[in-house]
Amino acid sequence: MSTLQVSRLGALNTDSGGILLSDRIQQVQEPPGPLGGGAGQNPGVNRLSAYDGVVIPNLRLNVINRGDPAAGDALVELRTFDQVHYYQTAGAVLNLRTSVVPNAIYEFTYTSSGGAANIDFVLNPNGASYSNEFRDQYYYTVGGGGFSRTDQTLSTIYFDHLAGGTGVSPMGTFRFTTGPTNKYYTYKGSDNENLVFGYGRWTNNSRTWDFVGQLNFNGDNKRCWIRRIG
């Protein structure tokens, strides 16, 4: 049994089950313990985050281990904003079999350790290539603090960390909007030698972005965390 003292309860979204809480909610009837419950104290109040009288329910992140799916394995949708799809492989190729919906934003962060040097970030959306449909521009360091720029129209989403053959152990964040017409993305990545900022567009507005795609570039032991953010 949990008892909540509620001075004002906001709306319960009857479709999603989401709860909009308003004002302060204090948990009571908590057993006395180190964190509260003694005489003269307000038991349990520190268990919830409170700012200006507003409490944010401490929803737990729900990390779903999708492993290392094959190219034809089932697609799975992210159904809440606090749900994460986690992928991992010992190799260099990682199929991100997370389905995406129109008019939304997704973001993933990846890491890679070991394997071949020269990090040229490649994402094949929907696991396919589309000739000359991706217009990418990016800015990358080339030794020292200076940046160079590259503009390319390719069949994949592509951001070179360095216009050369070095660099290992990358980490990067890729954020994209799914259209349904205009589809945009930004990229921030780095490795042990280089730094890159990128932006691009999938210029064929009639395409549908069905699932995230396939990561396929140098560097083994890829890990990837995907979430929906809008």
Binding site: M1, S2, T3, L4, Q5, V6, S7, L9, G10, L12, N13, T14, D15, S16, G17, G18, I19, L20, L21, I25, Q27, E30, G44, R47, L48, Y51, D52, V54, I56, P57, N58, L59, R60, N62, R79, T80, F81, D82, N103, I105, R135, Q137, Y139, Y140, G146, F147, S148, R149, R175, T177, N182, Y184, Y185, T186, F197, G198, Y199, R201, I229, G230
Partner: protein
């Protein structure tokens, strides 16, 4: 004070596996529920100078909720109420319309003379070099390029609302467009006595703006 004893919650569709942790009070939503997207696109927004009204509605009250805005035009009123001492983020896109993306946000839909210190670096022209800009203005501002081109922009802004007693309001921005431009910057709202009560008005070149706002912390 009303006391509400809660042991079970369910939606109108009969979904009842919404857990309440009896020890911590945490509420856990089950898998399979849709994200909470509050479409705020249909507000009858007056734009610049809009005063705080009840139309702001509730703030973003949990991390599983997003406010979504869209307009076919260039100006977009982000009518999301914000709380003190909190972090928010929005991502926007824009397609078509006039060129030259100079990101502008009027917080609270207003200008405040000389209260915004911008520090940002933006690329310039055909090479990869970043140019420096340090400006004091009456609103949040990040130029994507110190010139007149660039369209189809996408950007991300992380906002801290300050605590009113020394922890300044500030933001961090990363944006780009197809004019071969990218901008990376920081901006501080220097007047601690002004509350950042709602996100504000986005108004700069580029039509068909879309914006997703969420609370980060």
């Amino acid at each position: 004070m009303t006391t509400l004893k809660v042991t079970n919650l369910q939606t109108s569709a009969g979904v009842s596996n919404i857990a309440i942790n009896a020890n911590t009070g945490e509420v856990t939503l089950p898998n399979g529920l849709e994200p909470i997207i509050n479409d705020r696109s249909n507000l009858n927004a007056a734009g610049y100078g809009r005063a705080y009204t009840d139309e702001l509605g509730p703030p973003l009250m949990n991390f599983n909720e997003v406010h979504y805005y869209e307009t076919p035009g260039a100006s977009l009123l982000l009518y999301t109420r914000m709380l003190r001492d909190a972090f928010y983020e929005f991502t926007y896109t824009s397609s078509g319309g006039a060129e030259n993306t100079d990101f502008v946000l009027y917080p609270n839909g207003l200008t405040y003379g000389g209260q915004f210190q911008a520090v940002y670096r933006a690329t310039q022209g055909s090479n990869g070099s970043f140019d420096e800009a340090n400006q004091t203005l009456n609103h949040f501002y990040f130029d994507h390029q110190f010139g007149g081109d660039g369209n189809n922009s996408m950007g991300q802004m992380i906002m801290y609302t300050g605590n009113g007693t020394g922890a300044d309001k500030m933001c961090f921005y990363f944006g780009a467009d197809d004019g071969t431009n990218v901008s990376y910057g920081f901006n501080r709202w220097t007047n601690d006595s002004v509350e950042w009560t709602w996100v504000g008005l986005l108004t700069f070149n580029g039509d068909n703006k879309r914006c997703w706002i969420r609370r980060l912390g």
